[in-house]
Amino acid sequence: MIASPKPDLVTVNIDGKEIAVPKGTNVIEAARLVNVDVPYYCYHPKLTIVGNCRMCLIEMGMPAVDPATKAPVMDPATGKQKVNWIPRPQIGCGTNVSPGLHVRTTTPMVREAREGVMEFLLINHPLDCPICYQAGECKLQEQATGYGRGYSRFVEEKNVKPKRTQLGPRVTLDDERCILCSRCIRFSKEIAKDDVLGFIDRGSYSTLTCYPGKQLENNYSLCTVDICPVGALTSTDFRFKMRVWFLKQTNSIDTESSVGANTVVWSREGVIYRITPRRNDAVNDTWMSDSARLLYKQVKADSRLQAIRVNGADSGLDMAVNAAATLCRAGSVAVVGSGRSSVEEQFLTKKFAAALQAPVFLVSRVGEGDRLLISADRNPNVRGALVTGLIRSLPAARLTELGAAIDAGRVKTVVSIGEDLVAAGLSAAQLSKVAVVYLGTHANPTSAAAKVLVPTLAVFERSGSFVNQQFRLQKFHQAVPGPPGATEDLVVLSRLATAVGAAVPAELGQLWKTIAAEIPALGTMTFANLPEAGLLLDATPYAALPFAEGETLHYKPASPAAA
């Protein structure tokens, strides 16, 4: 027998290559480690294994041992231990590695099995790739090029099934394209905990459907579209909008809550078409919420601010910065920072506020968590504000303290970084008592009342980083340019800070040098070398804070009281 190098590692032989893999790895994943591709449809690393597509059939065998003496049986031809190959192909997804397991993926038996399955999957498939939105990212299409016959031997009539079933408000089903892999059913049951999908009828006539009286309407329903290996489950929002191969992919972060699900923004020519999850096994696995996928819609909203205004008149950035600086130099300034700003923006906000010795408030957004990928804290970056030192304690529920200060006449100017002060708890009367400098993306009562208004960028239009609930520093990138008239937040903040006497750079690379120099927790980092999967920061300095989050996927609150 081949001895395992470590107790938790198992040595296997895949197509002649020896590799040690952790115990419990299945053969598909083990093969992936040695760059051997095992095709599959029904297998999904985050779902239970059912082994129903039969695409991952491969040959397996174990080293031969003499049944009586337990001594290895050697092959005189090669001088190596003989391998007893199992005469039938086995599924790679359902087989976990065992010491000495031998796998062959290139034999005629394996090729025939794959070609057979491929042909079977295609005979009743409509083959409507030219009008199918999955084309370009379809597993069936992809693997047909590798294992398909290239011609059809099927002269019978294809099965007829429903073509446009609305499974729910966001998902449309084409049953004829379905290959019955059951990923969506398993996802609904196991991950979304909303068991609404199932098959009716039997054999090749099996049809995916919702249970009577139920709908696929949970906030994770679009994950079924992501994991559907074919074009059966389609996003009602995205279908027929754009060919996927035209789209540019940009890594981003979900700003919906402090979970910070990793995402990919798909855009073309400055227009975002969809957002999908990006796998991060420590944060969101391969999932994201439906609500977060719709966030791109606000980018093109009618209420988008597009003109710099000073005292109600259109203006330019220089004049706006000067006007704001003049207001600030008069003293009695308060700064309302944001848990939606990036770490970099929060750092600049801190520098700006420190130069003015102005008090900093943060707007808290606490809702109910869904125990999966939306946490109770709906700000994506409250922890960033703690790490950068913008705040020291968690934000209060409302801006009552600021309101009182205004009423008492201690605050004459409020600089708000994207926060609507009315929504955050100031009354219209309080708002009318102060001069407001507002940096924001969308029109609201605060932007209407602002003396100095600078339109800034939405999250998809800028780059930066957030610190999620796990204290994981994760970066996001600009996917599309901002609207005309909007200025990058970093530029505005850096200009403001410089104008009040704290010169800081606006460019991310330069800025990170300053950040690294001033904040020990981020001391060794640059923006460029921050990994896409994020970097866990030391959370111990903040362990005593009563964070709002309860349990979600891959996150358990430190103190049970918070749960």
């Binding site: 057979g116 079977f120 019978e156 054999g203």
Partner: protein
Amino acid sequence: MPAPAQTRIIFQHIDEPGYTPDIACYVRNGGYEVLKQAVKRKPEELIEEVKKSGLRGRGGAGFPCGVKWGLVDRKSGKPIYLIVNADESEPGTFKDRYIIHQDPHQLIEGTMISCFANNVKQAYIYIRGEFPHGARILERAIAEARGAGLVGPNILGTNYSCEIYVHRGAGAYICGEETGLIESLEGKRAYPRIKPPYFPAVLGLYQCPTIVNNVETLCHVKYIVQHGGEAFGRIGTPGNTGTRVFCVSGHVQRPGYYEFATGTITLGQLLNDVCGGPLPGRKLKAVIPGGSSAKILKFGERFKGKRKVGAEMVDYDWGVEDVPMDFDSLGMIGTMGGSGGVIVMDDSVNMVEALANINAFYSHESCGQCTPCREGSLWMKKITTRMVHGTARTEDAALLKSVADQIPGRTICAFGEACSWPTQSFLAKFGDEFKQYPETRNAAKRNDAAALI
């Protein structure tokens, strides 16, 4: 050589005048005496008897019953379940129905003995949906047995308690597959489970160790415990012990059920001597010896090879008539004893049409879980149906074979074999008939047209 006499063990009282399915009649005929003796013995002893008997499962695969019981995980601390597989759905098989309808207490006694031997506290009889009457009979019989203290808490005054529940299927062939049956019993679609890891002996019903046995098998257990494993082993031939119930259907003079010591009767004796041979003026053409999924045999073909008799290897040269009806001999000639359903076809049968019938059944019964069986069975059905009812092509024979070859060994359960073996064997043995079928059909069409003029 004349056929041996029947050995009626399981079917001892079937169709006996005056024999009724109630408990009084069963007890009058010595019923439940074996159970009374069994509960006084050690469970391990009973398992040992079954192991010694060499009893092989009568559901189709012929897996040794003692080995199956030996595989059960008894260390897990979880309850062990026993399931009686009464989902007798294989076309051509009707033995279990006779037992259930006419001698249900024999099954209950066999079940209770097996439960006691395996320390089972809860047993289920999974009966196919198409047997509503059988289910009612079983319900009544269990109630009677419970009333007599033979089923339920503290049976026969001992500390041992065991309940039996009847569960009716909803009409699916696949529920006869043991893991499909377990899923169905759990209330889900009867999708067979992948093995590994879901071997019933370890992770069966409700993820607990589970024994699934055929109705006839459990009746044999009663006989084994009564007479001892060694005595049972002396019936039949080594490796193929006990008796076998054959359900003969099709083109013979006297179709029906016949029980013989396994391996003592040849197929020819069974069909010609026992069943009276072919219908007048006809000739036997083909026979399926173990339920419709077994590979077909063609009269006139010969099988040669070596087989083990005692300790030595002996040459054999058999025609279809010479094959002994036991698991191993039928396995040697490339088919199987299966569930004992012997389907006979004479020269009036067109093999393409016969296969179209079988394919229609299997495509209708494929559960649809895994790809090769789901798509392959329907494809084969569509081809044969088209051949019979539409346009047959000469190339269909080769296509059918190629499709069938893509199924077995690649599916989750044995249904892949069940649905492809008929096509494979029909094509292998009657390939010419398939190739000539387009011409045969066209000629028939011409004749039909001529007749209209």
